[in-house]
């Protein structure tokens, strides 16, 4: 037998856990203003997350999927994308969405059980949150196919989690994208846990990036808590895709520092000590340290940022709470151009029930 193909998976890190560069930094990372912009967004995500969980715990928000721990991945991806690109998210990538113009209020409206939250005023072309695991990946390939057919220099970016990479849809999406050389990047956010299933139980593969190999496309790993690294790797993948070089799988190695959702209790299945160890690698501290080393940050600016974020969050919560309820018709609308009779009957029934219940609030 002779070797007919060899493959290698590379891992990249630009900032270590102390915020010290481990290699030459890209140009954007030498601009303090640009790094500060990313750090501000990461901080906003962290503080918003805590508020959203408290809103759920006090009955003012439905189930919520927190993002704490993922800020570098989410913001790094957002910062690498162009406004005309299309995002196909899962359900916790707020950092990317906020960067692209989704509002805090829209996020709250959605998790408050109101689909109008997915009708983004900002990035009209971006897809809404996608709860059915991996189903957004073939959609992203389809979006990229449209760009290719139209000859537009735009890219699709699909998120997926470590658990999602076991789904058939993910393999189909990668395969189609590879075969057609589509301008799409699949971001595999490997946070260690698919709800309660650890990666070691999820797959025998050494890396998730190597799943790209079977589709004939490049796969690369990056420290997902290093916002500089994530952005650098994503920019490279997007530039190549935009030039017709085809898709990439980017695996970002991070850790879910929260429960899976507010309906989960991770202390019941995560081994003791793992969470504490993961906090030592979290993304905000190293970004702040790096900013400080550039002479662009100090305690006063940190305090000012935190109160600025708190004010933004409070304003968003108030706007969310002031959002009038949608009518009961909403759940029947937009399903059929010509609704069947049975659905119309249900709509009438719902209206009759809604009327008395709607009063007094």
């Amino acid at each position: 037998m002779k070797n007919v193909a060899d493959f290698i998976i590379r891992f990249g890190q630009w900032l270590d856990t102390e915020g010290k560069p481990t290699r030459a930094l890209p140009e954007f990372a030498q601009d303090p203003g640009e790094v500060e912009r990313m750090y501000r967004m990461m901080t906003l995500c962290r503080l918003f997350d805590a508020k959203a969980v408290n809103l759920q715990r006090t009955g003012r928000l439905g189930t919520y999927a927190p993002c704490t721990g993922h800020e570098a991945t989410h913001v790094g991806v957002g910062a690498a994308m162009q406004p005309e690109d299309v995002l196909c998210p899962v359900y916790r990538e707020y950092g990317t969405q906020l960067w692209r113009g989704v509002t805090l209020t829209e996020i709250l409206v959605y998790w408050g059980g109101d689909e109008r939250g997915t009708d983004f005023a900002g990035p009209r072309q971006d897809f809404p949150w996608c709860v059915p695991i991996a189903s957004q990946t073939p959609i992203a390939a389809g979006v990229a196919m449209a760009f290719k057919v139209r000859g537009e220099p735009r890219c699709a970016v699909a998120y997926i989690g470590d658990g999602g990479t076991s789904e058939g849809a993910f393999y189909e999406a990668m395969n189609a994208a590879g075969a057609q050389k589509l301008p799409v990047v699949f971001v595999v956010v490997n946070n260690g846990w698919a709800i309660s299933v650890p990666v070691a139980a999820q797959t025998a593969a050494q890396t998730l990036a190597q799943k790209a190999i079977a589709a004939g496309i490049p796969g690369v790993q990056v420290d997902g808590n290093d916002v500089i690294g994530v952005r650098a790797v994503m920019e490279e993948a997007l530039v190549r895709a935009r030039r017709g070089g085809g898709p990439t799988v980017v695996e970002t190695l991070t850790y879910r520092l929260s429960d899976h959702t507010t309906a989960d209790d991770a202390t019941r299945y995560r081994p003791a000590g793992e969470l504490e160890a993961a906090w030592l690698r979290e993304p905000l501290v190293r970004t702040r340290r790096y900013l400080e080393s550039l002479g662009a940050w100090d305690d006063a600016r940190e305090q000012a940022l935190r109160s600025d974020c708190a004010a933004q969050i409070d304003a968003a919560v108030q706007a969310y709470q002031a959002t009038p309820k949608d009518s009961t018709d909403a759940m029947f609308d937009h399903l059929f151009a010509n609704p069947p009779e049975a659905l119309e009957e249900q709509k009438d029934t719902a209206r009759r029930w809604a009327a008395p219940r709607g009063t007094g609030h």
Partner: protein, 396 residues
């Protein structure tokens, strides 16, 4: 006044239990300040304050179950005068909390319909099909003892109740369920948390295990000072299990198989005011007596204040009931499946014993070993008991 009703803390949860309060009446609280730890079917969660103000009432004490939507805390808001507390307007659905836009009643449809009785307390766990059948056939599901996993009411349970309700038999369709806080003599006290879990695991044991108990005594007259009962018993159990590994196992009746374990994880029955709790001491065969003692103390404290994580309360491979602290020499302790054996240690007393041809008075510990005769033979059980006694009779 502002009233905070317990929200749905998960997805379609009907209730939660108070674990501990972090605030007391009269305390000033800030928005988002942790207020109370609540345990739901899925998690222990911290509930923060939705408002800034002073706590004016707490509804319930640790261990109480609160129905979703029922009052949990009253506040006097910072911008309201104390006198306003009595004149504040509350809506029928529970209250006006700051700028909270709606009540939970409107936000959350219950995942399952409420029982006909509409009792606000703990609902019986039941399969949706069983609940529906019960409603259609007029059976009050709250009165049924479930035979499914963890006391789940099944369709069979409901059908059995329907048979009992045939003419001649009688089923209580209107038995009121009352909150445990009631307390009048003879009033029904619905079992909660540990006590309910005990009812379920004992029913499971009764219905599944073929229990057989054998008794004997260990002569501990020659113990050196400094021996303590529980750690000596744990060591003796380890010696017994080494002699007869078949009793340190789980029996799986469905697949007619047993799993033998190398590690010996002993569940110790602890009596608490709320009911029986069984924290587990791991790997007793490979640990020093000092380590065992430290673990026993930790679990005792944790059991008393209910702070033990679920990981300390599951997967024992053998059980110990050290019931003789107060009274009682022998017993028929109950094996909780899938474990197959439990050792009971009774009250140590000074007995008249024959030593050679002489009469002496020795301290003796009565022992009762119950084993599951479906997969353990009598010979194995008595050989284990013999090894336990031999180890217990060592001086140290």
């Amino acid at each position: 006044m502002s009233r905070f009703n317990l929200p749905d803390l998960g997805e379609g949860l009907q209730e939660a239990e108070i674990v501990r309060w972090h605030v007391a009446v009269g305390d000033r609280v800030a928005v988002d300040q942790p207020m109370v730890a609540m345990e739901t079917a899925k998690a222990v969660v911290e509930v923060p304050s939705p408002v800034a103000g002073v706590v004016s009432a707490l509804y319930g004490k640790p261990g109480d179950t609160v129905a979703t939507g029922a009052p949990l805390v009253d506040f006097r808001l910072d911008d309201e005068a104390p006198a306003a507390a009595t004149t504040a307007v509350t809506t029928a659905s529970g209250g006006v909390v700051g700028h909270m836009p709606t009540s939970d009643e409107e936000l959350h449809e219950p995942a399952l319909p409420r029982s006909a009785a509409g009792a606000p307390g703990r609902r019986r766990r039941a399969l949706p099909a069983a609940r529906d059948l019960a409603r259609r056939s007029g059976v009050d599901i709250e009165t049924l003892a479930g035979t499914g996993r963890d006391g789940l009411v099944t369709v069979d349970d409901v059908q059995a109740a329907m048979v009992r309700a045939e003419p001649g038999a009688q089923v209580a369709t209107t038995t009121p369920t009352r909150s445990p806080a009631g307390g009048a003599e003879g009033e029904l006290e619905v079992l909660r948390s540990l006590r309910r879990a005990m009812a379920q695991s004992m029913s499971l044991a009764r219905d599944n295990v073929m229990e057989c108990t054998v008794c004997d005594d260990a002569d501990i007259e020659h113990w050196e000072s400094g021996n303590d009962y529980t750690s000596r018993l744990l060591r003796a159990i380890a010696a017994g299990c080494r002699a007869e590994p078949g009793l340190n196992s789980w029996f799986d009746a469905t697949s007619q198989g047993r799993r033998l374990f190398h590690h010996i994880d002993v569940g110790i029955a602890v009596d608490t005011p709320d009911g029986l709790l069984v924290p587990v001491i791991r790997d007793v065969g490979n640990r020093s007596s000092a380590e065992l003692r430290a673990d026993i103390n930790r679990l005792k404290v944790g059991a008393r204040d209910r702070s033990l994580p679920a990981s300390d309360l599951r997967d024992f491979t053998f059980m110990l009931s050290n019931f003789g602290v107060m009274a009682g020499r022998y017993a028929t302790p109950v094996v909780v499946p899938p474990a197959v054996a439990i050792l009971g240690a009774g009250k140590v007393s000074r007995d008249v014993v024959a030593v050679g041809d002489k009469i002496e008075i020795h301290r003796r510990m009565p022992l009762s070993l119950t084993f599951d005769h479906r997969c353990v033979t009598g010979g194995e059980a008595v050989r284990l008991l013999g090894a336990v006694i031999k180890d217990l009779e060592l001086r140290s």
